[in-house]
Amino acid sequence: MSERRAGEDILRVEGLRVEVRTDRGPGPVLVDDVSFSLRRGEVIGLIGESGAGKSTIGLTALGYTRNGCFITGGRIDFEGRDIRQMSAAERRALRGPGVAYIAQSAAASFNPAMTLFEQICEIPVLHGVMAAAEAKTEAIRLFRELDLPEPEKFGNRYPHQVSGGQLQRAMAAMAMAARPDILVFDEPTTALDVTTQVEVLAAFRTLIREHRTAAIYITHDLAVVAQIADHIMVLRFGKMVEYGPAAQILAAPREDYTRRLVADRVAGHDFRALRTVGEPPLLRVSNVVASYRSLLRVIDDVSVEVSRGDTVAVVGESGSGKSTLARVIIGLLPRESGDIRFRGESLPPQLARRSKDQLRRIQMIYQMPDVALNPNQTLLEIIGRPVQFYFGRPRAEVRARVLELLRMMDLPEAFIARKPAELSGGQKQRVGIARALAAEPDLIICDEVTSALDQLVGEEILRLLKRLQDELGIAYLFITHDLGTVRRIANKVAVMLKGRLVAGGDTATVFAPPYHPYTELLLSSVPEMRRDWLDEVLARRGETLKAVRDAQIRLAS
């Protein structure tokens, strides 16, 4: 806040403990005995799976806890003063000019009824740091630093008038507006596409370096934090697993858990099917066109083939039409033209016109297991219903089949009476898979099935899917934006850009030079563990982007 002293700890957290307290008494301990310190210009990365306590720690730096959580032990010293001893007014004065927060979803953090200028200039003016005119000049300067288009006019727009990546950067500008000493980044790039993530990450790094701001960077992605952090703390179940310089954590992790996190990103496992099948394709999508309310073509002339035992990945950024393709195949969105042949016969475009058998043979697994499972049904009902519906088996047989499926999913049989709320995210996803398998399908469409899960849990789900494919010969159509996964699981890949197919074929061919420029852009944007990765990507980026634009012009003409 006051004079800038270099080399001194600006934030020192010691023995921090955060607990939940409900009206039923004390709840779980979210953060247990966590200590770290932060100097000016230094960035600490907090790494861990969901529930590791990363965000909770980040928020305590602002003297804040979520509803029902209480700081029950330790000190949080900001410039030598314990935040816990401050009055509510002092804490309020701290937030903004002292510590500022950047949330995962910028769209949910901005008021849609106010322009960006109004919201960004509000903070320094409110805290009496700057006058309104000065705050506006400062905002424009920040927009320029963050590489936003038309910095002078950018702030006149409303949140919905800018892209997701731009809005995320605008939130960084909002956080920086009152010139804080510490920035807390809470998964700021997780909701963005990989290509956008590169740009936003670069902007954040420049901002931190130029202002010598200290930062706490919270993420579940080690590769992201490798680009930006000086120190890394690995957390699990609210406890510190490992804490040290970033280079050491990435190159020579001491703890077993850290090693697993690092190893999965670096090497991974190859799940690809090796066999080749000579029969006609199971699913043949030819020249399909689809649009929403005939206004916007979401899918334009797309053709894909899936054979028995295949894993075909459909990749692309958000808005590329890959999920829409799944909806068209399933029949939720009727196609306008083109043909979809399944086992040799043409599938009717509308869901209602398809036969029970056609419906049964194509199943789907969803991204968010939370909303894909009815919270009021037991696993017996959820998994048993397809068995009863498609095969009309009596009760006892349905139950036996559900137990068999649970065993296949490596879930305990006792779960049969449980409801989804009593399961973890990974277990819920297994139930989603079991429900799909209960219909005994030929093809399962997997829509971003691992992206809502933690890294190691997602890895287990992929392993399970692979095992099921080996045992049952099911084909997968894998919709994903995670190219790292695609490389390892898919034997064929289709790359989509703005509703069109730009590249397709065997994974080995598509993902090897000479690339289509867009494939190259996507591939190069997947964060790698190396600390100099971001610099390398940025150096080559201008060229790649130009090639993509040229390719797009060619496609359109």
């Binding site: 939940v20 789907m364 009815n374 049904q377 498609y390 709320a421």
Partner: protein, 275 residues
């Protein structure tokens, strides 16, 4: 105290006690009430005695017994009306939300039409044309009330129908009835139950108002609304008679609202977590 794993605040306890007493009185009226509601026992407006604890009314009937029978009529009627209005409102609301298209359009416009007319006036017209038989009364109020239930049920079902588990059921090939009954209804129960309490007290007040105006429950059957009407002149003579049924109406309304408030709070709090 705890109920279904939730802590029950004092107001809700009071509300529950009020409802319990009223329900017992309503159900057990013939057993509890010392005299029949229509029996003439003595002089009009006889003062309270140990025999007739609240005294006698304008026709010499026992006030206390009439109050108990009144609970039976008022609460019973309101309960039947609310159940019927929920049955109509939920079925139409869910169907509109799931089917969309012209079905939804038609139902919504009918509801708009009904809502655009003042309910009391509308009830007046229907009841004066069709007469004041109990079934007519029940159906009229239930239909008028179901418009509000329709709005809520439709909004709830719209939200739920957009979730993926409903999509899963549709893609599986399930019919409309299954989707409504098994996928949507169980997930909309909590807010609907809370609304039930609220609508119950409105129906109760509405019936009391109609009875007061002479279009509701007909003599000699006792109900609180018509009792207030019949005894209202006595307020000028410094008698307590009209205050007993009026007080009963007020207390039960407050009691139901206490419980509803608590249920809404529990519902919005998720599963008892949080501050």
């Amino acid at each position: 105290m705890r109920l279904f794993g939730h802590r029950v605040p004092l107001t809700a306890l009071i509300g529950l006690a009020i409802i319990a007493i009223n329900v017992v009185a309503a159900v057990g009226a013939p057993l509890i009430a010392p005299y029949d509601q229509a029996a003439v026992l003595g002089d009009a407006w006889a003062d309270p005695t140990p025999q007739y604890v609240l005294g006698l009314d304008d026709l010499g009937r026992d006030l206390f017994s009439r109050l108990i029978y009144g609970a039976r009529m008022s609460i019973g009627l309101a309960f039947v009306v609310t159940c019927l209005s929920f049955a109509i409102g939920i079925v139409t609301g869910f169907a509109g939300a799931v089917l969309r298209g012209w079905v939804d359009m038609l139902l919504s416009r009918i509801v708009d039409l009904l809502l655009s007319m003042p309910t009391l006036i509308f009830a007046f017209i229907v009841l004066s044309v069709l007469g004041t038989a109990l079934p007519v009364l029940i159906v009229t109020i239930a239909i008028l009330d179901s418009t509000k239930v329709f709005r809520l049920a439709r909004a709830l079902a719209m939200n739920i129908a957009a979730l993926e588990y409903v999509e899963v059921a549709r893609v599986r090939g399930e019919g409309l009835w299954w989707v409504i009954r098994r996928e949507i209804f169980p997930n909309a129960v909590a807010p609907l139950v809370a609304e039930f309490g609220l609508r119950f007290s409105f129906a109760f007040l509405f019936i009391a108002a109609l009875s007061f105006l002479g279009l509701g429950v007909q003599p000699p059957a006792a109900d609180w609304g018509s009792m207030v009407r019949d005894y209202r002149d006595m307020i000028n003579l410094d008698a307590m008679a009209p205050l007993y049924p009026a007080g009963a109406i007020a207390i039960l309304t407050i009691g139901v609202n206490f419980v509803v408030d608590w249920m809404l709070a529990v519902h919005s709090r998720g599963h008892g977590e949080g501050a």
